[in-house]
Amino acid sequence: MNKQKLVVIGNGMAPGKALETLLELAPDAYDITIFNAEPRVNYNRIMLSPVLSGESTFEDIIIHGDGWYIENGITLYKGHKVTEIDRDAKTVTSEGGITAQYDKLLFATGSNPFIIPLPGHNLPGVLAYRDLDDVDAMLIAARSGGKAVVIGGGLLGLEAAAGLQMQGMEVTVLHLMPTLMERQLDESAGYLLEKTLTERGLKIITKANSKEILGDKKVEGVRLEDGTELEADIVIMAVGIRPNKSLAEESGLEVNRGILVDAKMQTSDPDIYAVGECIEFESNCYGLVAPLYDQAKIVGKELAQHDTEGFIHPETATKLKVTGVNLYSAGDFAEGEDREDIILRDATQGIYKRLVLKDNVIIGVVLYGDTEDGPWFFQHIKDRTDITDMRETLIFGPAYQGGAAVDPLQAVAALPDDTEICGCNGVSKCDIINAIDEKNLSNLDDVRAHTKASASCGTCTGLVEKLLAIQLGDDFKPNAIKPVCGCTDKGHDEVRRLILSKDLKSIPAVFQELEWETPGGCAKCRPAINYYLVCAWPDEYVDDGYSRFINERVHANIQKDGTYSVVPRVWGGVTSSRELRAIADVVDKFDIPTVKYTGGQRIDLLGVKKEDLPRVWSDLNDAGMVSGHAYAKGLRTVKTCVGTDWCRFGTQDSTGLGIKLEKMLWGAWAPHKLKLAVSGCPRNCAEATCKDIGVVCVDSGYELHFAGAAGLHIKGTEKLYTLETEDEVMEHVAALTQMYREQGHYLDRIYKWVDKVGLDYIRETMLDDIQRKAYAESFHFSQKFYQVDPWKERVEGKEAHHFTPIEIVQPKAEVLEPAE
């Protein structure tokens, strides 16, 4: 068989997907030649923002490496711009002088950034934001710091601004309209976005009409219509894109705003197709990846001579790829008399959700802050689902439909096959399911490797995991959702979410509302639920001692012979003769059999009788000592070395910092025990790198480590980053502790929590000023209610009857010891 010749002009994401489709269906149908004006292979253009911000590298975002072209026998001319097409002879010719014959030609020339023809727009330093060359130019400019002005507060402009800011530039965004991203967001979400970005240090000027770009030999600033002048070392124009149609126009193809195509992506010449941002279909042009991939699949099938249903102008959904900003929008959300809104706002969490309904169908959705349910709403928009029956709970998303919370797996299982799961890479539910089945994939990494789903921004990881769980059933272990215990089928995360969303403030309320299968729970779930309530409602919830393990109930550690051990707090491991004398006196007075140093730099008094506990505590309190919470799922110790006060090698005051940290953290309950250490230099005498949270002082500041453990499992810490001041350490540790308190599953140490949510996510959140400060604030709020010495309370009479015998009338039988 004689192979036909296919020539492709352009090597972006759309032709890449088209060729993938073609090669899958008809691998031997064509000899393929690609002319690419950019001197490189096919890469994921929507992931340029993470490259700009430094979170990814170019290698991370390559879709097809050189090997792919070789394997598939494709000839790729890199850096060859096509200058001429002879439709009669069916040839294309490049600037480099290469001429290629075609039977079928595919236009994929993409789009050009729109440059506003302001005075000065040709000055060096005025850049677009379109391809890797632009990103490289920006990175070079950012290297010397300085100021950047971004013209355009839409999707691309904001991504560019955030990236430049992360590279250390001082950035101002000029936006013509009153609110940011007005094409994708309504006013409220636009306001939240502006607030978030402003708080993160971006300067944003709305209603800003740029008049002139200033500068002599290169850019020096921008002048607005009202006379305001802004200094700038670079100016980024990100006001929109225009389909790149000039070559098609010169070749005599029918064009309007873009190259005109029909539903089969055919141009006015039946042997020439066009796909991607260069086309115009039914008066629409496209810039988002999902519809481009849909077009590409149609072109691929057409070329393979498979039937297609043809392209239908789709609804599209938008996400902003700025670290720490979650927003999602889809459909139509203009206000109108025939429309209704469902709105959910949570001001403290910075969450805004709005659904726009018309005739009981969702036509638009805007989500800010919590976007996980976006694809679910989007699917209902596409399906035009009648939502009458779920109206009451609709805004809460798929997990809350059907009156009670349903299994989140079922909600995902119920999504139609063509639901787009991964917006970054345009992967649908059935793509993922087919890959799992056909290639026997068994974990998240496999799915990422084969489909790229969740491999880019990662926000759809949860959905992909649920698909794995659905396909593999019990065989999917690592991240499968485990119920809290046998009393419920709900997992820890869901229970915590529901406690907050349903305002559940007591254990019976949780059992009732979440339909516990046992009346009083069990020894596994009761302590977990009690902790979740303590964490969620620090000022309102009354701690239930009877849902705690005995050690936390009586604030001492039960020993195998039924006696208890008592460990007073020794702040940062520093004690005094007065404290030691008091401890010695207590040992003598109560005949305590064993006195032992612990690994956490304090003293353990073992073998205390339960009825003696209040009097032992009283004597220790008198010497100024409080409970060391050696029994707690909460802060245990902050181990220190001597630091600059004494040590020849010390770089910072490690002891002082350790004491400060311990004074800040004591009394806080947590999913599991929390041990810290502060080492004064990298010799690490306080062994900070195997703690839940560790600080290693260095000359330039404080390395913050976390997620270590030295128990059943031995694990070195992960280094988060280095901080400059003690105050920063205090804030970051408070925030990190609170994030763990709010997210960790009960009985998961920090390292297990990290395994579940991912180190990168935690680091990103912690580096986000807004989120970090909010977590730290929540922590300090909770501490207002929990920094009370439990020993002192009991010495003063709280629950005294539990420690005091009661008399009974009958001889030979007496109640001696109360058990609480």
């Binding site: 012979d561 001889p811 058990a819």
Partner: protein
């Protein structure tokens, strides 16, 4: 004068035992745990989980069931995590373990327990 037989002994008022909590009752023969469920039902069991790690040790091993978590009509041992029925004293699980139970009753606002213990004249 004394005679050994089953006798009822006053213990305490129901209010003296916290809901979902317990009290310890020491008799000349043994130590008993008194439990009160959320419904206010009272149960009495030997205050010792019947599981023992049979390792050599200088120190006697006592794991008081009274210190466990009460849930429904069950209590979970704080040391071994084994769960026992408050009604029958039988363990819930694969091991066939049993803790002794004692009858209780409420007479004129006072909990009474039945013990094989002599009543001495005052």
């Amino acid at each position: 004068m004394s005679k050994t037989a089953l006798n009822w002994f006053d213990v305490c008022a129901p209010e003296d035992i916290p809901f979902q909590g317990s009290r310890v009752l020491r008799t000349p023969q043994t130590v008993i745990a008194l439990f009160k469920t959320t419904d206010g039902e009272i149960f009495a069991l030997d205050d010792e989980c019947s599981f023992k790690t049979r390792k050599f040790s200088m120190r006697p091993e006592i794991c008081p069931l009274s210190q466990g978590i009460v849930h429904g009509k069950l209590v979970t041992c704080p040391v071994h995590n084994e769960t026992f029925s408050l009604e029958t004293g039988e363990s819930i699980g694969e091991d066939d373990e049993r803790v002794r139970t004692y009858p209780t009753r409420l007479v004129a606002g006072t909990i009474q327990i039945q013990l094989a213990l002599a009543v001495e004249a005052a």
